[in-house]
Protein backbone atom coordinates (compact mmCIF):
# COMPACT_ATOMS: atom_id res chain seq x y z
CA UNK A 1 0.00 0.00 0.00
CA UNK A 2 1.38 3.35 -0.93
CA UNK A 3 2.48 5.83 1.66
CA UNK A 4 -0.08 8.37 2.73
CA UNK A 5 2.79 10.67 3.24
CA UNK A 6 1.88 12.97 0.43
CA UNK A 7 -1.58 13.89 1.64
CA UNK A 8 -0.14 16.67 3.73
CA UNK A 9 1.37 18.53 0.82
CA UNK A 10 0.10 21.55 -1.01
CA UNK A 11 -1.34 19.34 -3.69
CA UNK A 12 -2.70 16.78 -1.26
CA UNK A 13 -4.22 19.39 1.00
CA UNK A 14 -5.95 21.11 -1.89
CA UNK A 15 -7.40 17.79 -2.91
CA UNK A 16 -8.62 17.09 0.59
CA UNK A 17 -10.22 20.50 0.90
CA UNK A 18 -11.99 20.08 -2.43
CA UNK A 19 -13.25 16.68 -1.41
CA UNK A 20 -14.52 18.07 1.87
CA UNK A 21 -16.46 20.75 0.01
CA UNK A 22 -18.02 18.19 -2.23
CA UNK A 23 -19.02 16.10 0.78
CA UNK A 24 -20.54 19.20 2.43
CA UNK A 25 -22.67 19.84 -0.61
CA UNK A 26 -23.64 16.18 -0.71
CA UNK A 27 -22.27 15.68 -4.17
CA UNK A 28 -20.14 12.70 -3.18
CA UNK A 29 -20.14 10.24 -0.32
CA UNK A 30 -17.35 10.15 2.26
CA UNK A 31 -16.59 6.64 1.12
CA UNK A 32 -15.93 7.91 -2.36
CA UNK A 33 -13.71 10.65 -1.00
CA UNK A 34 -11.67 8.03 0.78
CA UNK A 35 -11.28 6.08 -2.41
CA UNK A 36 -10.16 9.23 -4.17
CA UNK A 37 -7.51 9.81 -1.58
CA UNK A 38 -6.25 6.27 -1.85
CA UNK A 39 -6.01 6.64 -5.58
CA UNK A 40 -4.20 9.92 -5.07
CA UNK A 41 -1.64 8.15 -2.91
CA UNK A 42 -0.93 5.59 -5.58
CA UNK A 43 -0.77 8.14 -8.33
CA UNK A 44 1.49 10.58 -6.58
CA UNK A 45 3.87 7.83 -5.56
CA UNK A 46 4.22 6.45 -9.05
CA UNK A 47 4.43 9.91 -10.59
CA UNK A 48 7.23 10.98 -8.30
CA UNK A 49 9.03 7.74 -8.87
CA UNK A 50 8.77 7.69 -12.63
CA UNK A 51 8.02 11.08 -14.03
CA UNK A 52 10.21 13.39 -12.04
CA UNK A 53 13.70 13.86 -13.32
CA UNK A 54 15.10 17.03 -11.90
CA UNK A 55 17.53 17.08 -9.10
CA UNK A 56 18.08 19.37 -6.14
CA UNK A 57 21.13 19.44 -3.94
CA UNK A 58 21.05 20.58 -0.39
CA UNK A 59 23.59 21.12 2.30
CA UNK A 60 23.21 21.97 5.94
CA UNK A 61 24.16 20.93 9.43
CA UNK A 62 22.46 18.03 11.11
CA UNK A 63 20.67 18.78 14.31
CA UNK A 64 19.01 15.44 15.02
CA UNK A 65 18.30 12.15 13.33
CA UNK A 66 15.99 9.30 14.08
CA UNK A 67 15.36 5.89 12.60
CA UNK A 68 12.36 3.93 13.80
CA UNK A 69 9.81 1.74 12.01
CA UNK A 70 11.95 2.05 8.92
CA UNK A 71 11.41 5.77 8.72
CA UNK A 72 14.28 8.19 8.78
CA UNK A 73 13.59 11.64 10.19
CA UNK A 74 16.23 14.35 10.02
CA UNK A 75 16.18 17.88 11.30
CA UNK A 76 18.74 20.10 9.61
CA UNK A 77 19.71 23.68 10.36
CA UNK A 78 20.82 26.45 8.02
CA UNK A 79 20.18 24.53 4.86
CA UNK A 80 20.80 25.68 1.33
CA UNK A 81 18.69 24.06 -1.37
CA UNK A 82 20.42 24.41 -4.66
CA UNK A 83 19.00 23.68 -8.03
CA UNK A 84 20.74 24.63 -11.22
CA UNK A 85 18.88 27.86 -11.37
CA UNK A 86 17.79 28.63 -7.84
CA UNK A 87 19.06 28.88 -4.36
CA UNK A 88 16.79 28.73 -1.33
CA UNK A 89 18.05 29.18 2.18
CA UNK A 90 16.20 27.87 5.17
CA UNK A 91 16.82 27.86 8.93
CA UNK A 92 15.27 24.59 9.84
CA UNK A 93 14.23 21.65 7.73
CA UNK A 94 12.58 18.44 8.76
CA UNK A 95 13.07 15.56 6.36
CA UNK A 96 10.97 12.42 6.62
CA UNK A 97 11.94 9.38 4.60
CA UNK A 98 10.00 6.17 4.68
CA UNK A 99 12.49 3.48 3.87
CA UNK A 100 11.10 0.15 2.99
CA UNK A 101 14.18 -1.73 2.07
CA UNK A 102 15.55 -3.90 4.82
CA UNK A 103 19.02 -3.95 3.39
CA UNK A 104 20.55 -0.77 4.72
Amino acid sequence: MAYQLYRNTTLGNSLQESLDELIQTQQITPQLALQVLLQFDKAINTALANRVRNRVNFKGSLNTYRFCDNVWTFVLNDVEFREVTDLVKVDKVKIVLPHSSTTE
Partner: protein
Protein backbone atom coordinates in the same frame (compact mmCIF):
# COMPACT_ATOMS: atom_id res chain seq x y z
CA UNK B 1 69.88 -26.75 30.40
CA UNK B 2 70.63 -29.54 28.23
CA UNK B 3 67.24 -29.08 27.01
CA UNK B 4 68.38 -26.00 25.55
CA UNK B 5 69.14 -27.60 22.35
CA UNK B 6 66.39 -29.97 22.45
CA UNK B 7 63.44 -27.98 21.69
CA UNK B 8 61.89 -30.79 19.92
CA UNK B 9 58.34 -29.82 19.98
CA UNK B 10 59.10 -26.58 18.42
CA UNK B 11 61.73 -27.43 16.13
CA UNK B 12 59.85 -27.18 13.02
CA UNK B 13 58.91 -23.67 13.59
CA UNK B 14 60.41 -20.75 12.05
CA UNK B 15 62.80 -19.77 14.66
CA UNK B 16 66.23 -21.09 14.66
CA UNK B 17 67.00 -23.62 17.15
CA UNK B 18 67.24 -22.29 20.55
CA UNK B 19 65.56 -19.17 19.54
CA UNK B 20 62.80 -20.31 21.62
CA UNK B 21 64.35 -19.52 24.77
CA UNK B 22 62.72 -17.03 26.83
CA UNK B 23 63.87 -14.23 28.71
CA UNK B 24 64.97 -11.26 27.15
CA UNK B 25 63.08 -9.72 24.60
CA UNK B 26 66.21 -9.27 22.74
CA UNK B 27 67.10 -10.88 19.70
CA UNK B 28 69.32 -13.30 21.04
CA UNK B 29 66.60 -15.28 22.36
CA UNK B 30 68.73 -18.22 22.49
CA UNK B 31 70.11 -17.41 25.77
CA UNK B 32 68.58 -19.67 28.19
CA UNK B 33 68.13 -18.31 31.49
CA UNK B 34 70.42 -19.37 34.12
CA UNK B 35 72.04 -21.84 31.94
CA UNK B 36 74.97 -19.69 32.17
CA UNK B 37 77.04 -22.47 33.33
CA UNK B 38 78.71 -22.83 30.07
CA UNK B 39 78.30 -21.27 26.83
CA UNK B 40 76.11 -23.86 25.43
CA UNK B 41 77.52 -25.37 22.39
CA UNK B 42 74.92 -24.11 20.17
CA UNK B 43 74.49 -26.46 17.41
CA UNK B 44 73.09 -24.13 14.90
CA UNK B 45 75.28 -21.96 12.95
CA UNK B 46 73.18 -19.05 12.09
CA UNK B 47 74.31 -15.65 12.85
CA UNK B 48 72.11 -15.28 15.78
CA UNK B 49 73.91 -17.96 17.55
CA UNK B 50 77.20 -16.36 16.93
CA UNK B 51 75.86 -13.22 18.31
CA UNK B 52 74.82 -15.15 21.28
CA UNK B 53 78.22 -16.45 21.85
CA UNK B 54 79.38 -12.96 21.91
CA UNK B 55 76.78 -11.92 24.28
CA UNK B 56 77.22 -14.83 26.47
CA UNK B 57 80.79 -14.02 26.93
CA UNK B 58 79.97 -10.49 27.65
CA UNK B 59 77.41 -11.42 30.03
CA UNK B 60 79.44 -13.82 31.85
CA UNK B 61 81.75 -11.07 32.57
CA UNK B 62 78.97 -8.97 33.66
CA UNK B 63 77.08 -11.68 35.27
CA UNK B 64 78.38 -11.01 38.63
CA UNK B 65 76.73 -7.72 38.58
CA UNK B 66 73.46 -9.12 37.70
CA UNK B 67 71.90 -9.46 40.93
CA UNK B 68 68.49 -10.76 40.78
CA UNK B 69 68.05 -9.06 37.55
CA UNK B 70 65.34 -11.18 36.23
CA UNK B 71 63.25 -10.54 39.17
CA UNK B 72 64.15 -6.95 39.26
CA UNK B 73 63.02 -6.11 35.89
CA UNK B 74 59.50 -5.50 36.51
CA UNK B 75 59.31 -4.18 33.09
CA UNK B 76 60.34 -7.02 31.02
CA UNK B 77 57.34 -8.67 29.78
CA UNK B 78 57.34 -12.27 30.38
CA UNK B 79 57.08 -12.66 26.80
CA UNK B 80 58.02 -16.18 26.71
CA UNK B 81 56.51 -18.59 28.91
CA UNK B 82 59.02 -20.63 27.44
CA UNK B 83 57.91 -23.98 26.64
CA UNK B 84 61.11 -25.32 27.84
CA UNK B 85 62.22 -25.65 31.32
CA UNK B 86 64.94 -23.23 30.98
CA UNK B 87 63.11 -20.81 33.00
CA UNK B 88 63.39 -22.87 36.03
CA UNK B 89 66.94 -22.03 36.48
CA UNK B 90 66.08 -18.50 36.49
CA UNK B 91 66.50 -17.61 40.06
CA UNK B 92 69.87 -18.01 41.22
CA UNK B 93 72.21 -19.03 38.55
CA UNK B 94 74.36 -16.53 37.04
CA UNK B 95 71.71 -14.65 35.43
CA UNK B 96 72.95 -14.56 31.99
CA UNK B 97 70.69 -12.01 30.88
CA UNK B 98 71.21 -8.57 31.80
CA UNK B 99 67.70 -8.08 31.99
CA UNK B 100 68.01 -4.88 30.25
CA UNK B 101 65.69 -4.73 27.44
CA UNK B 102 68.06 -2.35 25.87
CA UNK B 103 70.85 -2.69 23.53
CA UNK B 104 69.87 -5.80 21.93
CA UNK B 105 72.50 -6.28 19.41
CA UNK B 106 75.45 -4.82 21.04
CA UNK B 107 77.42 -6.47 23.71
CA UNK B 108 75.72 -5.32 26.67
CA UNK B 109 76.58 -3.43 29.62
CA UNK B 110 74.29 -4.51 32.25
CA UNK B 111 72.11 -1.54 32.18
CA UNK B 112 69.86 -0.75 34.98
CA UNK B 113 66.44 -2.08 34.48
CA UNK B 114 64.23 0.86 33.96
CA UNK B 115 66.95 2.64 32.18
CA UNK B 116 65.63 4.38 29.19
CA UNK B 117 62.05 5.22 29.34
CA UNK B 118 60.96 5.85 25.90
CA UNK B 119 59.68 9.32 26.49
CA UNK B 120 56.69 8.52 24.35
CA UNK B 121 53.30 8.21 25.91
CA UNK B 122 50.62 6.29 24.09
CA UNK B 123 47.45 8.28 23.55
CA UNK B 124 44.15 6.67 24.38
CA UNK B 125 41.91 6.56 21.37
CA UNK B 126 38.90 4.56 22.39
CA UNK B 127 37.32 3.26 25.54
CA UNK B 128 34.51 0.71 25.62
CA UNK B 129 32.48 0.41 28.77
CA UNK B 130 29.29 -1.21 29.92
CA UNK B 131 26.72 -0.30 32.50
CA UNK B 132 23.44 -1.74 33.70
CA UNK B 133 20.53 0.66 33.89
CA UNK B 134 18.71 -1.78 36.08
CA UNK B 135 15.30 -1.86 34.41
CA UNK B 136 13.67 -3.20 31.29
CA UNK B 137 13.38 -0.70 28.48
CA UNK B 138 10.95 -0.23 25.65
CA UNK B 139 13.26 0.42 22.73
CA UNK B 140 10.60 1.71 20.42
CA UNK B 141 9.59 4.43 22.83
CA UNK B 142 13.18 5.42 23.27
CA UNK B 143 13.80 5.52 19.54
CA UNK B 144 10.73 7.57 18.88
CA UNK B 145 11.20 10.13 21.54
CA UNK B 146 14.93 10.48 22.00
CA UNK B 147 17.06 12.51 19.67
CA UNK B 148 19.81 10.99 17.58
CA UNK B 149 18.65 7.44 17.95
CA UNK B 150 18.40 4.58 15.48
CA UNK B 151 16.43 1.45 15.97
CA UNK B 152 16.15 -1.22 13.33
CA UNK B 153 15.05 -4.36 15.13
CA UNK B 154 15.32 -6.46 12.01
CA UNK B 155 18.97 -5.75 11.85
CA UNK B 156 20.05 -5.31 15.43
CA UNK B 157 18.12 -5.59 18.63
CA UNK B 158 19.31 -2.39 20.26
CA UNK B 159 18.88 1.34 20.03
CA UNK B 160 21.99 3.10 18.77
CA UNK B 161 22.19 6.51 20.34
CA UNK B 162 24.86 9.14 20.01
CA UNK B 163 25.73 12.27 21.90
CA UNK B 164 28.01 15.05 20.87
CA UNK B 165 29.77 15.78 24.12
CA UNK B 166 31.69 13.60 24.86
CA UNK B 167 31.42 12.30 21.36
CA UNK B 168 30.29 8.76 21.94
CA UNK B 169 27.91 6.07 20.74
CA UNK B 170 25.82 3.87 22.97
CA UNK B 171 24.03 0.62 22.31
CA UNK B 172 21.03 0.32 24.54
CA UNK B 173 19.36 -3.04 24.92
CA UNK B 174 15.88 -3.89 26.08
CA UNK B 175 17.27 -5.70 29.11
CA UNK B 176 18.51 -2.39 30.41
CA UNK B 177 22.14 -3.01 29.69
CA UNK B 178 24.14 -0.50 27.73
CA UNK B 179 27.49 -0.37 25.95
CA UNK B 180 29.22 2.98 25.57
CA UNK B 181 32.01 3.39 23.01
CA UNK B 182 34.15 6.11 21.55
CA UNK B 183 35.29 8.04 24.58
CA UNK B 184 38.90 9.10 24.84
CA UNK B 185 39.33 8.75 28.56
CA UNK B 186 37.90 6.78 31.44
CA UNK B 187 36.23 9.81 32.96
CA UNK B 188 34.68 10.76 29.67
CA UNK B 189 33.35 7.27 29.23
CA UNK B 190 31.73 7.37 32.61
CA UNK B 191 30.32 10.82 32.02
CA UNK B 192 28.91 9.81 28.66
CA UNK B 193 27.31 6.72 30.12
CA UNK B 194 25.70 8.88 32.76
CA UNK B 195 24.36 11.20 30.10
CA UNK B 196 22.76 8.34 28.25
CA UNK B 197 21.28 7.07 31.47
CA UNK B 198 19.80 10.49 32.09
CA UNK B 199 18.24 10.56 28.64
CA UNK B 200 16.60 7.24 29.31
CA UNK B 201 15.49 8.42 32.71
CA UNK B 202 13.89 11.53 31.27
CA UNK B 203 11.87 9.38 28.95
CA UNK B 204 10.21 7.90 31.97
CA UNK B 205 12.16 4.76 32.76
CA UNK B 206 13.49 4.21 36.29
CA UNK B 207 17.09 4.08 35.16
CA UNK B 208 19.92 3.51 37.60
CA UNK B 209 23.66 3.36 37.09
CA UNK B 210 24.82 -0.06 38.18
CA UNK B 211 28.12 -1.85 37.61
CA UNK B 212 29.86 0.62 35.38
CA UNK B 213 32.92 -1.14 34.04
CA UNK B 214 35.50 -0.32 31.45
CA UNK B 215 35.88 -3.31 29.21
CA UNK B 216 38.52 -2.29 26.73
CA UNK B 217 40.95 0.52 26.12
CA UNK B 218 42.78 1.26 22.90
CA UNK B 219 45.86 3.40 22.62
CA UNK B 220 48.22 4.36 19.86
CA UNK B 221 51.58 5.97 19.47
CA UNK B 222 54.48 6.46 17.15
CA UNK B 223 58.03 5.37 17.83
CA UNK B 224 59.22 7.66 15.06
CA UNK B 225 61.41 5.18 13.27
CA UNK B 226 60.67 2.41 10.80
CA UNK B 227 60.68 -1.16 12.03
CA UNK B 228 61.85 -4.44 10.56
CA UNK B 229 58.78 -6.54 11.14
CA UNK B 230 60.25 -9.59 9.52
CA UNK B 231 63.07 -9.68 11.96
CA UNK B 232 60.83 -9.14 14.88
CA UNK B 233 58.54 -11.94 14.00
CA UNK B 234 61.42 -14.31 13.39
CA UNK B 235 62.84 -13.92 16.80
CA UNK B 236 59.60 -13.67 18.62
CA UNK B 237 57.84 -16.61 17.22
CA UNK B 238 57.42 -18.63 20.27
CA UNK B 239 54.74 -20.58 21.80
CA UNK B 240 52.73 -18.50 24.05
CA UNK B 241 51.02 -19.83 27.07
CA UNK B 242 47.78 -19.97 25.18
CA UNK B 243 48.60 -22.40 22.46
CA UNK B 244 45.04 -23.19 21.78
CA UNK B 245 44.57 -19.71 20.54
CA UNK B 246 47.72 -18.80 18.82
CA UNK B 247 50.94 -20.63 19.03
CA UNK B 248 52.92 -17.50 18.57
CA UNK B 249 53.52 -14.31 20.38
CA UNK B 250 53.72 -12.48 17.17
CA UNK B 251 52.26 -13.15 13.81
CA UNK B 252 52.93 -11.28 10.65
CA UNK B 253 51.19 -12.11 7.41
CA UNK B 254 51.72 -9.17 5.14
CA UNK B 255 49.36 -10.56 2.61
CA UNK B 256 46.61 -10.60 5.14
CA UNK B 257 47.31 -7.52 7.15
CA UNK B 258 50.19 -5.11 6.95
CA UNK B 259 50.77 -4.98 10.67
CA UNK B 260 52.50 -7.39 12.95
CA UNK B 261 50.24 -8.70 15.71
CA UNK B 262 52.08 -9.07 18.97
CA UNK B 263 50.28 -10.73 21.83
CA UNK B 264 52.03 -9.76 25.00
CA UNK B 265 51.37 -12.03 27.92
CA UNK B 266 52.05 -9.70 30.72
CA UNK B 267 50.30 -7.42 30.65
CA UNK B 268 47.83 -9.13 28.44
CA UNK B 269 47.78 -6.68 25.58
CA UNK B 270 47.69 -7.07 21.85
CA UNK B 271 49.86 -4.71 19.89
CA UNK B 272 49.68 -3.98 16.20
CA UNK B 273 53.06 -2.89 14.99
CA UNK B 274 53.51 -1.31 11.61
CA UNK B 275 56.48 -0.71 9.42
CA UNK B 276 56.08 3.01 9.75
CA UNK B 277 56.71 2.82 13.45
CA UNK B 278 53.16 3.36 14.52
CA UNK B 279 51.91 1.08 17.23
CA UNK B 280 48.35 0.35 18.30
CA UNK B 281 47.75 -1.22 21.71
CA UNK B 282 44.49 -2.79 22.70
CA UNK B 283 42.91 -5.12 25.18
CA UNK B 284 43.64 -3.17 28.32
CA UNK B 285 41.29 -2.83 31.21
CA UNK B 286 43.26 -0.05 32.85
CA UNK B 287 45.39 2.72 31.45
CA UNK B 288 48.52 1.47 33.15
CA UNK B 289 48.48 -1.71 31.11
CA UNK B 290 48.79 0.27 27.91
CA UNK B 291 51.70 2.23 29.24
CA UNK B 292 53.36 -0.83 30.63
CA UNK B 293 52.98 -2.74 27.40
CA UNK B 294 54.47 0.07 25.44
CA UNK B 295 57.42 0.38 27.76
CA UNK B 296 57.95 -3.32 27.33
CA UNK B 297 57.84 -3.30 23.58
CA UNK B 298 59.80 -0.13 22.99
CA UNK B 299 63.22 -1.61 23.59
CA UNK B 300 62.44 -4.51 21.34
CA UNK B 301 61.34 -2.19 18.62
CA UNK B 302 64.45 -0.13 18.98
CA UNK B 303 66.38 -3.25 18.34
CA UNK B 304 64.60 -3.82 15.11
CA UNK B 305 64.91 -0.34 13.82
CA UNK B 306 65.37 -0.11 10.11
CA UNK B 307 68.61 1.54 9.31
CA UNK B 308 68.26 2.01 5.60
Amino acid sequence: MEQNNSLPPFQGLASPQGAMTPGMPIFSPMMPYGSGLTPQPVTNTNSLSLLEEQQRQQQQQASSQQAGVPGGLGQTPQLYHSQTVTTTTLPGNTPLYTATPLTPMTPITPATPASESSGIVPQLQNIVSTVNLGCKLDLKTIALRARNAEYNPKRFAAVIMRIREPRTTALIFSSGKMVCTGAKSEEQSRLAARKYARVVQKLGFPAKFLDFKIQNMVGSCDVKFPIRLEGLVLTHQQFSSRPNFFPYFSSYEPELFPGLIYRMIKPRIVLLIFVSGKVVLTGAKVRGEIYEAFENIYPILKGFRKTT
